[in-house]
Amino acid sequence: MSPVLTVEGVTAGYGRVTVLHDISLEAGRFGNVGLFGPNGHGKTTLLRAISGLLKPRGGSIRFDGQDIAGLSARAIVGTGLIHVPQGNRLFPDLSIADCMALGAYSARARPHEAENREKVIKLFPKLAQRWRQRVRTLSGGERQMVSIGTALMSHPRLLILDEPTLGLAPKIKDELCASVLEISRGGVPLIVVEQDIEFLLELTQQLYLVNHGAVATEIKPGESLDHGEIMSMYFGH
């Protein structure tokens, strides 16, 4: 299988600070991709560069053969590459119904609005009970469901999740993991950034360790790794 997303030699940062140094990776060749590594080493910055929130200073990002580096976030949403940002803050004073309508805002997603809404409700029945409630009043797990649900309303061809389990209780994490797995089985490839390695091993087939703004190690499917090895990658030898 050819990769869905190819990141080649991307450099990006904020102001005078460079966060990503010539980073390269591929996604979609072996299934879902997981990114892990210490905080503050560029995982979120990489996702922001991919989804157009941050203009890369150099390098190329190809999604399904099309070069998307430097396109606006809106244009990238139009290609079906959908990014669920970290922290499930989303739109605190909008209702779940409003968020779902926003998810289907792009011209590409609008014709599929009803069908995608069915999907979201089937995946997260809890949301249907709180449909008119403001996002602010929901629990952390429910807010994460809204974030992912909104992304599904955008009719994704590739879904990027940034630390979906951040701050969630273990039981909620497991439920969320099952739901995300179901999305993946429905034919949407994933890129997941996570600190919880168990969660990543459950969901993804290929892992990248991101360190100092570049890929430090790539773990292909079939290559085993144990907890100790990951710990030593995090903290050095």
Binding site: A73, R74, P85, L94, A101, L102, Y105, T150
Partner: protein, 291 residues
């Protein structure tokens, strides 16, 4: 009886004008997070454009709507020229205070050059006078009292019941997340400014119909609108609307009992008290958002 009627009528009338102005300020603040100090100039320009169109021979029923639409364009252009290039700067709030003040001053002096210092007046919405509860009032003022709530209600319906209004509310709450659902954030910023400028222009047309116009006619209403948004809070548009009418009634009562001379001092007294007790405004929460 006539005292009550006078205060009630004066409050409703002033409150209507303040509400039209304050809602635009609040709309721009909630969506973009900046204060637009050229808002008073929008009011003046709306009135002068309407006057010019009437002078050219257009009937008021055509001239007024055209002036309001032209003002939407003016708002859009101002946003694109002195606000949009600065978005993303860390000190944007202060910088935009300066750029909008500068643009306002430029437009004000431009109006002075084009139209001259002589006071002008545009036709009233409805000619004639009547008496209500022993108070003589003009039909123009009554028309304003009736039309303003309808326009504000239409704005509410637009924000809360349409897809585009939903997009504006979304941008107000989270800019990054708005980009990620594919909203055209720059266009929505332009739209917020365009709506605000139209409403201010309409307020100017209302004012030019019963008071003489001058190039500086917008500065006092801008000041009052600022008091209203500080008093009512700027995190929503309903807060400033209620506050506008409250301030209107307060002003009417003050000028009736204490005289026009003391009204501004009392008004600022109430403002200072509000800032001490509830700095986020009396109808407001601490977060930004249109509701």
């Amino acid at each position: 009886m006539s005292a009550l009627a006078e205060i009630l009528f004066g409050g409703l009338f002033q409150g209507s004008l303040y509400a039209m102005m304050a809602v635009g300020l609040a709309l721009v603040w909630t969506t973009i997070g900046v204060f637009n100090f050229s808002h008073g100039v929008f009011m003046m320009l709306g009135a002068y454009i309407a006057w010019q169109l009437v002078e050219l021979g257009l009937p008021a029923a055509v001239a007024f709507p055209v002036a309001v639409v032209v003002m939407a364009g003016v708002g859009w252009i101002l946003q694109a020229s002195v606000v949009r290039p600065l978005i993303g700067r860390p000190n944007i709030v202060l910088v935009v205070v300066i750029t909008t003040l500068a643009a306002g001053s430029l437009i004000e002096n431009g109006a002075l050059t084009i139209w001259g210092p002589r006071s002008k007046q545009i036709p009233a919405l409805i000619d004639g006078n009547t008496t209500i509860g022993g108070v003589g009032v003009s039909l123009h003022q009554i028309a304003i009292i009736v039309i303003t709530p309808l326009i504000l209600a239409a704005l509410w319906v637009f924000l809360n019941r349409t897809r585009l209004g939903l997009a504006l509310r979304a941008v107000a709450q989270n800019e990054d997340a708005s980009h990620l659902v594919g909203l055209n954030v720059t266009a929505l910023y332009g739209l917020a400014f365009a709506i605000a400028a139209s409403l201010a222009g309409l307020a100017g047309i209302f004012m030019g119909g019963y008071r003489f116009m001058s190039p500086v006619m917008g500065s006092d209403p801008l000041l009052k609108a600022l008091i209203v948004v500080v008093f009512g809070g700027i995190s929503s548009i309903s807060g400033p609307i209620f506050a506008a009418y409250l301030i209107g009634f307060f002003e009417a009562a003050c000028s009736y009992y204490f005289g026009l001379y003391w009204t501004p001092a009392l008004l600022f007294g109430v403002l200072i008290l509000t800032l001490m007790v509830r700095p986020e405004g009396i109808f407001s929460s601490r977060s930004r958002g249109l509701a």
